[in-house]
Symmetry: C2
Subunit: 207 residues, 2 copies
Amino acid sequence: MILPDKTIERLSQYRRNLLITLAGGKEFIFSHEIARLLHITSVQVRRDIMLIGYNGTLRRGYDVKELIELIGNIIDTEQGQNVCIMGLGNLGKAILKYLYGKRPKLRIVAAFDINTEKTGKLYSGIPVYHIDELGDKIKEHSITIGLITVPVDKAVETADHLVKSGISGILNFSSKPLNLPAHVYLEEYDMITSLEKVAYHTKRNLY
Amino acid sequence: MILPDKTIERLSQYRRNLLITLAGGKEFIFSHEIARLLHITSVQVRRDIMLIGYNGTLRRGYDVKELIELIGNIIDTEQGQNVCIMGLGNLGKAILKYLYGKRPKLRIVAAFDINTEKTGKLYSGIPVYHIDELGDKIKEHSITIGLITVPVDKAVETADHLVKSGISGILNFSSKPLNLPAHVYLEEYDMITSLEKVAYHTKRNLY
DNA sequence: TAGATTGTTAATCGATTAACAATC
DNA sequence: TAGATTGTTAATCGATTAACAATC
């Protein structure tokens, strides 16, 4: 089953909102309620849910718990995946703290840095290794996903190093577009582009 | 002139890469060279450049400096825009340091926090104000864009507060979808969704 | 029942890409 | 000139939305 990228993004958002819904004690939800949470249309919600093969009931809508579980089956692996952070600068630290413990099936298990003053210790409970240990530690911790938060001029070599060490997926926070072999999934996450997009639209609003 | 959102995103990326190109002493560039930098097709580059009404030459391609300037005219305002950061936690601090001085026409001029231990001082050269001063300081500093990096349960009230204070654009880093009046431009920048997207595709690669 | 909802196809909208004339 | 490039239209692809039958 191949799902459109846009559907995956929305499924991730559905789940996070459904978890809040469930925590609030609500056990069933209609497509238009999910839609309102995300400011999209109810047709789109129903279509996404159709694509993942789930069925609601006409009277009560969707079973929140079942839907959460089904989305989990699609996004997560059974044992979960282990994640490392490349570069423990401001952004790396912030992301580490931000993500730590947030997603049970996506565990941050290591950080890597070039600076020997940072390595060999724990940061927020996570071991910080020197970049030279990357290959060994990726195997040791069964790391499948790497987040790149190094300065832009180190991004390419860091990505290559991750690929050589057998990583499966990369989320790149540096604003250098990377070129990776097809078997490694790459997602670019570019803060400056987002900010400039806001600037462009804001400018239009100003006039 | 209305440009597609996707074109705006690429223009931002073109410019950043063109600045590097120019710094390297290269004065002219072909569409296929730009395309290779971003891993897209040269047709798309030419079409985007067509949309902004610029013309290259057949022999030498595009004048790098002119193209940079033209993209600047589209994205930036003449005097630039002032930006504030809502919430000076790990993410806020990281973004502040990351963006500081990076884009001359998008100046970070203030941070706001609820914690009085952080307020009334400078952080990385930027004044940190208490959230109660938001309305006054936004006017004082002519701030048009706000970045939201507060915890998810404070995101909605923070956004409302920004809107009431007359902000024009918001970049939301919290993973709560916001509901804003049409005159305020909103861009959602959701780290967890990006990470889960990587997780989904990585999972597919694993099997 | 009447009204509300789901599930799904068909139509529409928007973005990318193919094709190619014009030009240096 | 031949070859490479730009600029642009038309075709294609993909994603969203409209429409509606089925059902409780």
